[in-house]
């Protein structure tokens, strides 16, 4: 939390470490977070596995060692039936495979980033059709 609290005051993330895709979506942090996170995902057909790319932008992005990903349907009180596999790439990037939305409607992707301090939580609302 130390590092994060310190960084919270800074506005601009270092540009170099972070060049999210043009169609990347900004994740919503649970609380003020120094790391800005983006996701690129294109869920295709329902019930078929898809991949998601995550990028964390900010000075301590390289400190993130581990990311956990899940997704729920708030309206139906269930999550995904499969455990996604997260692979760490360099520069605060993570690749996630085995995401499956098996029902049409509103899904909330949930991301937890574990670095030096307390984990930081993010969400992203996605509509599956």
């Amino acid at each position: 939390m130390r590092v994060l609290a310190f960084l919270a005051g800074l506005s601009a993330a270092p540009a170099l470490a972070c060049a999210p895709d043009p169609d990347a979506l900004a994740l919503t942090p649970e609380a003020t977070a120094s790391l800005v996170a983006y996701a690129t995902l294109a869920p295709g057909r329902l019930s078929q596995p898809f991949e998601m790319q995550l990028v964390f932008c900010g000075e301590d992005a390289p400190a993130i060692q581990r990311v956990e990903v899940s997704a729920i349907m708030p309206a139906h009180q269930h999550g995904m039936n499969y455990e996604p596999v997260v692979t760490a790439l360099d520069d605060g990037r993570f690749s996630v495979s085995g995401m499956v939305f098996h029902m049409p409607g509103s899904w909330q992707v949930q991301v937890a980033a574990f670095g030096d301090g307390e984990p930081v939580f993010y969400t992203l609302e996605v509509e599956a059709r």
Partner: protein, 380 residues
């Protein structure tokens, strides 16, 4: 959202072009967009990479022959076709299948199988050849074992056909012979695909913007489709071109078999899956890349698995009464009545909050049945 229905436009076009046109398209633009997700149909054939004889004509012919031959059962009395009757949509009219004993479940219709990721009502297997192997060695069904099967094969009329596809059985391990036979059976079953129906002609016409042709789809079926996509919530689980999301849900069908015994559904299915050597991640798959094995590796057991069953596809369903995992509903009318008056006490308390009594009128219930039937009029 644009609420205007295309119906008006259609009527206009209809009046101008086909003077006799009285019918119209009743769906809103949003409903049309959702209807399109249930096609196109049929899908192009893609060989199963885990089965090296998938799509091979000689294997399909062998599988077709074996399917109806009781030689696969230990006492020579039971064939696959005994429970999966081609004249009954590859299901059977009895509620629960009768093997050596009365089984707990209704025989699934063997059509459109490549659409599935999991097989059986509870997904005990992740591929078609493993599912085809199960009844052969199940003591309550064909009650055979690998050695007995190999013996029966070499002395049967299929010995040469088998050798032509898989090589001479004599030098082969009995377990491999069992798996090979299951793969030939799978190659045959993959070809059992339902044809395009009046719903598909409607759907394809909508996609092509041909409203005059679309309007030929009966209005009762269209009204039923609107309920299916909307108020009925049916399309939340019965998704995509095959009308199934391939996963496991609680549809409010009781899972008590007797007062003291329950069908645990997906819960037991996952246990069987995890114990099986015949998965896509196991040594009997022919796919060096193990495509599809991610599912068995990454599937997660859930508390809510208990008493859930695989969402059945709905194409061809009008031919395969009775319905549900225990065959407890006699016809499509009874299925619609079930959803219409669903007993909330029967649903998981911590469930998905999707199903609730629909309050459909008698006419609306009929419309929904008409729509369901329109998924089966590919055959007379």
């Amino acid at each position: 959202m644009i609420r205007r229905t295309l119906g008006r436009l259609c009527l206009l076009v209809g009046l101008m072009l086909v003077s006799a046109a009285q019918a119209e398209v009743l769906l809103s633009e949003d409903e049309i967009a959702r209807a399109l997700s249930h096609g196109p149909w049929p899908p192009a054939f893609e060989p199963d990479p885990s089965n090296r004889v998938s799509g091979l004509p000689a294997a399909i012919a062998l599988g077709e022959g074996l399917f109806s031959d009781p030689v696969l059962s230990r006492d020579g009395t039971m064939a696959c076709a005994s429970c999966h009757d081609p004249a009954h949509g590859f299901a059977e009219p009895r509620a629960r299948a009768n093997g050596k004993v009365l089984l707990d479940r209704n025989a699934l219709a063997l059509v459109n199988l490549p659409a599935h990721r999991w097989f059986g009502w509870s997904g005990d297997t992740d591929n078609l050849w493993a599912q085809s192997l199960t009844p052969i060695v199940n003591a309550d069904e064909m009650d055979q074992d690998a050695a007995g099967l190999k013996q029966a094969l070499v002395t049967s009329r299929w010995a040469d056909d088998y050798a032509a596809v898989f090589g001479p059985p004599a030098g082969q391990d009995a377990d491999d012979v069992l798996v090979n036979i299951a793969k030939a059976l799978a190659a045959f079953q993959e070809t059992l695909v339902t044809g395009p129906t009046s719903f598909d002609r409607f759907r394809d016409a909508l996609e092509a913007g041909d409203l005059a042709t679309a309007a030929l789809y009966p209005e009762a079926a269209q009204r039923g489709l609107k309920i299916f996509l909307g108020r009925g919530n049916c399309a939340l689980c019965h998704t995509g071109p095959a009308f199934t999301n391939g996963e496991f849900h609680d549809a409010g069908v009781p899972y008590f078999i007797t007062e003291t015994r329950v069908d645990t559904g997906r819960h037991g299915g996952l246990e069987a899956l995890k114990a099986s050597p015949y998965t896509l991640a196991g040594p009997y798959s022919d796919d060096p890349e193990q495509q599809g094995a991610w599912a068995v590796r990454q599937v997660r057991p859930l508390h809510s698995d208990f008493g859930t069953f695989r969402v059945p596809g709905l194409r061809g369903a009008a031919r395969t009464a009775p319905y549900m995992h225990d065959g407890s509903l006699a016809d499509l009318r009874a299925v619609v009545r079930h959803y219409n008056t669903i007993d909330m006490e029967r649903l998981h308390a911590d469930g998905e909050a999707i199903l609730a009594p629909l309050g459909l009128s008698a006419t609306e219930a009929d419309d929904l049945v008409q729509f369901l039937r329109s998924l089966s009029d590919d055959q007379p």
